[in-house]
């Protein structure tokens, strides 16, 4: 029987799942509800503050970790969801979903590099 390559994607899925389980809800609340509705001051996400975060070493790490791991977690599960709905999923779709997450990771890394 051929050895599966799942462990690579599962490890990324697991890391993303753990991160999103620990801080996902609060992140969604802060950026998507509290700040836009001014429950938390709009100043919290002011340009200068977010830029300072993105220019900080730890800040860069945090941003790329959240974007990348959330994407790998979500895409891996979406791929499996298709299978659960009875849609035939092959190597092509597997590459597309995980490739998408990888592309998002590279985009985030590149943008953070641009910010300096």
């Amino acid at each position: 029987m051929k050895r599966s390559n799942k462990p690579v994607f599962w490890a990324l899925f697991g890391a993303g799942g753990m991160l999103s389980a620990l801080i996902g809800p609060m992140l969604v609340f802060i950026t998507g509800i509290a700040v836009p509705l001014d429950l938390l001051s709009r100043e919290t996400m002011r340009y200068e503050r977010v830029l300072a975060l993105a220019q900080n070493g730890f800040g860069k790490l945090a941003i790329v970790a959240v974007i990348s791991l959330f994407l790998f977690h979500g895409c891996h599960r979406m791929y499996h969801c298709l299978h659960d709905f009875g849609i035939h999923v092959g190597a092509g779709l597997k590459a597309a979903f995980h490739g998408f997450a990888a592309a998002g990771t590279l985009a985030a890394a590149y943008l953070l590099f641009l910010i300096g």
Partner: protein, 128 residues
């Protein structure tokens, strides 16, 4: 030997347990879209203050609020089920399952609280 094979179509509608499983799995769509929203914001950040302000404004639109309001219960359900299932995914230990679940949820609550305090009080720029 002639046998009869029953079809699988619609299997997840046949049992409440499966429906909850599908809801858990559906959380992945919200997590993916949320990550893309953040990525979009990061891109706007590189394009300067006015473009970034545009992104902030878009977060305040009814559609965006509705999306995040819908996403929140799904992400919470993901977190809940993630820790409920953790006793089954960890290597062998004699620790009772309930203790593992409680530890995970506590960690999540603490991390969430720390994040909220960090954002609200200190501002994240005060990191070393």
């Amino acid at each position: 030997m002639k046998t009869y094979r029953r079809p699988m179509a619609g299997w997840w509608k046949r049992n409440p347990y499966y429906l909850w499983y599908m809801l858990r799995e559906a959380s992945c769509v919200f997590i993916t879209v949320y990550a893309l929203i953040l990525l979009w914001g990061l891109m706007r950040l590189t394009q300067g203050e006015w473009r970034f302000e545009d992104w902030l404004e878009s977060l305040a639109t009814p559609k965006s609020i509705a999306f995040h309001a819908a996403a929140l219960p799904f992400v919470l359900y993901h977190a809940w089920t993630w820790f409920k299932v953790m006793p089954k995914t960890l290597p062998y230990s004699r620790t009772p399952a309930g203790v593992i679940v409680a530890s995970g949820i506590t960690a999540s609550v603490l991390c969430s609280a720390a994040l909220f305090v960090a954002v609200w009080w200190f501002g994240l720029w005060s990191l070393p």
